[in-house]
C-alpha cells in the first residue's frame, strides 16, 4: 500500500518542526517553552495542509496567484518551489523570497502576530503567478 521509500511522514515532520519553532518563539517572549503550543490546543493543536496549484496564466502581468493578505493561522510553514513569485511586505516594500532547496519558509500568522508587534503591523504576503504548486501548512 505504501512506498517503502516514504519512511517518514509529512504530518509528523511538520508537527515536529512546528513544535520546535513554537518553543523557540515562546522562549523569545519570556514564556515557558511549551506555552504557545498549549495556548494553541496542546496535543490537540490543529495542522492544516494546503497544496496550491498555479496553472500557467496567459497574462501573468495582469493577474495574481494570491492577492496581498495576512495568514489567519498562528504559524504557516511553506514549502515553495523553484519558480519565483512569493513576496513579503517589509518596511513599505515588497521583498522577494528566494528559493533555497533546503529551506522552509515560516510565516507568523494573525494569531501570533499581535504578541510580537508593539504596533499593529500586518505581516503581508502576495504570490505572483507561479507554475506548478506550493505546499502550505497552517497551524491554528
Amino acid at each position: 500500500m505504501c512506498d517503502r521509500e516514504v519512511t517518514e511522514n509529512y504530518s509528523k515532520e511538520m508537527l515536529r518542526v512546528t513544535e520546535k519553532v513554537l518553543e523557540v518563539l515562546s522562549e523569545g517572549l519570556g514564556l515557558e517553552k511549551k506555552s504557545l503550543k498549549s495556548q494553541l490546543g496542546g496535543e490537540l493543536i490543529e495542522l492544516e495542509m494546503k497544496i496550491n496549484m498555479y496553472p500557467p496564466c496567459p497574462q501573468p502581468d495582469l493577474a495574481l496567484g494570491v492577492e496581498p493578505h495576512t495568514d489567519m493561522s498562528a504559524l504557516t510553514l511553506l514549502l515553495p518551489n523553484e519558480v519565483p513569485g512569493l513576496q513579503v511586505w517589509k518596511d513599505n516594500n515588497w521583498v522577494a523570497v528566494n528559493y533555497l532547496q533546503d529551506a522552509l519558509m515560516v510565516l507568523v500568522g494573525d494569531q501570533l502576530e499581535v504578541m510580537f508587534m508593539k504596533i499593529w503591523i500586518l505581516f503581508m504576503i502576495l504570490v505572483l503567478i507561479l507554475c506548478c504548486f506550493t505546499l502550505v501548512i497552517g497551524v491554528k
Binding site: 504530518s11 520546535k20 519553532v21 493543536i45 490543529e46 523570497v97 533546503d102 507568523v108
Partner: protein
C-alpha cells in the same frame, strides 16, 4: 453550482485572462515589484539554542517571516510530497471534482478554487487541495484522495494504525 477551475481555464489556451482576474493597476505585478538587495532572514535550526531564540524572535518581530534550514525533513519526503501533489492535480477533472469542497456551507476540506471575493470582486489564479492533517481524531479521511495511492502514506500521521484497522 459548478465551480470554474483555474486548471480547466488554463487548458483552454486563452489569449487573455477573463476580466474577473484582471487586477487594478496598484496590485499588478509591475507595481508590486520587489526591491533589490533585501532578503528574508535565513536561520539554521542547528544554531546553539540561545542564538536561535534571539534570531527567531528578532525575525518574528521585525519581519514576521523567516526561512529555516537544517530542519531535518528529508529531501526524499519533500520530493514525495511534490509528486503526490502533482499526481493529484494530474487526475481527470471528473475525479478531482469528486473531492470538491463547499466553503459556503462550511465544508473546507477537499478540492477547491477560491470563491470568496474581495471588495473589487477579483479572483485569484489558483486551485488547491486542503485538509486537516492533525490531530488524528479530527481527520476527515473520506476527503483524502484515493489516487495516487501513495497520498495517504505521505500525509497520514498514523498510517500504520489505519492499515491495521482496514485489515
Amino acid at each position: 453550482m459548478e465551480v470554474k477551475r483555474i486548471q480547466s481555464l488554463a487548458l483552454k489556451q486563452l489569449k487573455e485572462v477573463p476580466p474577473e482576474f484582471i487586477r487594478s493597476p496598484n496590485e499588478r505585478p509591475e507595481n508590486t515589484k520587489a526591491i533589490e538587495g533585501v532578503t528574508v532572514p535565513l536561520i539554521s535550526l542547528s544554531h546553539p539554542h540561545n542564538l536561535l531564540v534571539k534570531e527567531i524572535s528578532e525575525a518574528a518581530s521585525e519581519w514576521g517571516f523567516f526561512q529555516i534550514t537544517h530542519h531535518n525533513i528529508s529531501q526524499t519526503l519533500i520530493q514525495s510530497l511534490r509528486e503526490v501533489g502533482e499526481e493529484f492535480f494530474g487526475l481527470p477533472q471528473e475525479e478531482k471534482e469528486g473531492y470538491a469542497n463547499d466553503p459556503s456551507n462550511g465544508k473546507f476540506d477537499g478540492y477547491g478554487t477560491k470563491m470568496t471575493k474581495n471588495l473589487e470582486e477579483k479572483m485569484e489564479w489558483l486551485d488547491y487541495f486542503f485538509h486537516l492533517i492533525s490531530p488524528p481524531s479530527k481527520l476527515n479521511y473520506h476527503m483524502w484522495p484515493k489516487h495516487p495511492s501513495s497520498y495517504r502514506c505521505v500525509y497520514h500521521p498514523n498510517i500504520l494504525k489505519v492499515i491495521k484497522i482496514l485489515h
